[in-house]
Symmetry: C2
Subunit: 507 residues, 2 copies
Amino acid sequence: MATETLSPELEAVVARAAAAAPAYAALTPVERARLLVALADGLDAAKADLVQIGMRETGLTEARLNGEVNRTAVQLRLFAETVVDGSYLDARIDYADPNFVLGPRPDIRRSHIPLGPVINFSASNFPFAFSVLGGDSAAILAAGCPLIVKAHSGHPELSDATAAVALEAVRKVGAPEGTFQLVHGREAGVAILKDERIKAGSFTGSIGVGRLLTDIAAARPTPIPFFGELGSVNPVFITADAIAERAGEIASGFLTSVSGSAGQLCTKPGFVFIPEGSALPEAVTAAAGELAEHRLLDPRIAQSFNDRRDTILETAGVTPLIEGGVRFDDDGQGWAKPTVVTVSLDDFRAGHEGLVEEAFGPLSILVEVPAGTDLAALMPEFYEGNLTGTLHLSTAEAEGTTENAPELRALVAALSKQVGRVLFNGWSTGVAVTPAQQHGGPYPATSNDSSTSVGTAAIQRFLRPVAFQNAPAAFLPEALRDDNPLGVPQSIAQAGESGDWGKRFGA
Amino acid sequence: MATETLSPELEAVVARAAAAAPAYAALTPVERARLLVALADGLDAAKADLVQIGMRETGLTEARLNGEVNRTAVQLRLFAETVVDGSYLDARIDYADPNFVLGPRPDIRRSHIPLGPVINFSASNFPFAFSVLGGDSAAILAAGCPLIVKAHSGHPELSDATAAVALEAVRKVGAPEGTFQLVHGREAGVAILKDERIKAGSFTGSIGVGRLLTDIAAARPTPIPFFGELGSVNPVFITADAIAERAGEIASGFLTSVSGSAGQLCTKPGFVFIPEGSALPEAVTAAAGELAEHRLLDPRIAQSFNDRRDTILETAGVTPLIEGGVRFDDDGQGWAKPTVVTVSLDDFRAGHEGLVEEAFGPLSILVEVPAGTDLAALMPEFYEGNLTGTLHLSTAEAEGTTENAPELRALVAALSKQVGRVLFNGWSTGVAVTPAQQHGGPYPATSNDSSTSVGTAAIQRFLRPVAFQNAPAAFLPEALRDDNPLGVPQSIAQAGESGDWGKRFGA
């Protein structure tokens, strides 16, 4: 197992994680749940202090950060429930069958085990929910994998303070040393990702950095899965009837979604396709009023957003509807007001190379689409995978019986192919943490669209199936035993069920 | 979407698959099941002819190939049941919750959709079960993905004949043209794998070729999942008490497993760790009798096996127990008799660089291990991932109460970390096709150990999750509707369940 040499400090980090792996994996579900709850309790207790650091380092508001801590703590508690519930193990039991259609069949039982140490590269724009103890970290720890977090350079002090909370929780519940560790610096993160003792990686950030790390994970002597959540432009389609029914409501929901957290959300609606000549632009202008200025996360992001905004405004046919803009203060920090522009579909098509790339900040583009345009074919022309796609329908259209229902169904089918989450009559920002949530989507929305980075299904990413054939009860994992001491859901195939497979569907 | 230019012929193949994707995905579960059953029926009807071609092209026996056709047909019928059952969709419904702990929660529902066109590189050693209509193909079609099979060069005529059966079934049930296609030649396969319209790949074969294709899939502008089943040495551990109890039975089971299909199975036991000085070598010699000669699959495989055998026999300390060998006929075909050698653990350690690599053919190495050796630490010294690991225990040891039970448990835990399937008192060749089967394992056993290539769980590889938020019933997939017209299992989270998450596990 040849590995590039790590610095003594990083070697110690990886060695501790590797040493912790068997012991941490061997904790009972309730013990693992206790750690997750202790982490949540620790966040709650330290909230006031952590939020103050976060406000200073990220420019995000107190209300937003308070909400984010709550969300992060709830997420950890939900994963505690998930671990104890045990349905995530997908436990399957096929009893031996001496009369199996292909000859005697052994007893086979299958469950999932943790992959081993995982590195999580945290995000800048969610200093709690996608950072040190955020969704990926919760899923990694819930799965039973030791966690190494690479702190984001945008909030190093907050990362250290959150790590202190985590280490205290690990100590308090008596989890193995090395279950949780934090490192700083991209070089450290890359070196750890390359180490053969690391079994998976996760990431939330830009397409460029995400692809770089994905390629590193794939090129290792032993390739490992890398779950990057990269970028998204989140198309929205609004029908003429929806605008006729509630233009004001749609306009104000749109502005809230574009301007919240200064638009620095991977689910910000980047493109809104509306019928040519509709009343929506006017309604947006009317709803805008005096939009507040919001500090962007850091000077680099501010500069990058300002450049993207300039490019978009300079594209032929683009008309500012809400001017907005970025002001730089003496510290180099950028302060943004939201920008909304309109463009005709023809001009959008002509200028799409400068327009379609994600503008990470408070900016959105209304594309005015002539009647008769094939909406289902529209996005695939310009962009591959997205986290979300949204439709706004009128009350009658939602019934699915209007004349344009087939066209709307085709649009839903096209969006399903391109996104991880299809929304109706709502806005894509704000991602509920629930069992059915899907925060993912085809590349470049993610580097691996087999799973989600929000919601309890996220735990699957850090597990691997293992089967046991004719195992004596004494050597079976508890989740696969007939007496089921953990009470997990078991999917059981009895003997004698194979006789007439397929008969129902014969010619 | 810049893609390398395909030849007109391959362009037509990929274009047909891409065109078929939405129509094939839109078939009802019963329609898709009908195709799978028609494929099975077609194989059954053509069995006699197909087996004759297979015998000629692969040198495998009539009994083995007849059994393989049966297995392949049963596999297709089992997938038909899987598609209609619908639990593979993992349908989840979270009802809206106005009193959710983080604020009002929308209705979110999550299911899985097919990835799109998939290319499957078929194997040489299973001309039916891992070839044109084998396990990967069944899983791909069951998932709702158009299938392009790259035929193995070892049985081109059989591949064409099987493809004719498949095309007839596609026609018969009225599935979209382009649902099934066959191509020949590695260059064609690679060109198709690189095409952006292809959404996943599968493969069964060598580590070298598998890694090459895995790297191609990962390096595309849009990376895609690639599920390669590559190679494995399948360690076996036999205790002193098991040998004392039933040396003869173990010896004959071992020889059957090593020599069946001339050892050309990815699950052939390559290393057997036995206590130093045990009676097993003697029992193996006694059980051997007159072992039959068996033609190897093709001259290249025969030459490669002969070379590996030479290397192993020339390693210091290796003693032939059953000499075996390879004889080449005038056509260059190799005919093998099984070879079994013994080596002490010290000599194995000293010579492991020449010994550990898989010997694809009828050869196995008995490693004699001194008492007191830490068995759990043994395999990780030499080799990473394997498809299987096996233990033979005595009746008393199987109870888990003997003095060495902790040591055996540690060995089971170590094997679980290294393999996809842990067997007890059996042999790893012969992989039952059932819902709980796991045919996979850490690299280099597979290029992606998140799933299996045998059993119904294999379907997961070709699916992607999609969620629907606040979708009107008229726009929901049937599997997610409240009236559940398909009758699929739905995992439902009611409103009001989030109040006390984590409370049970608090400090």
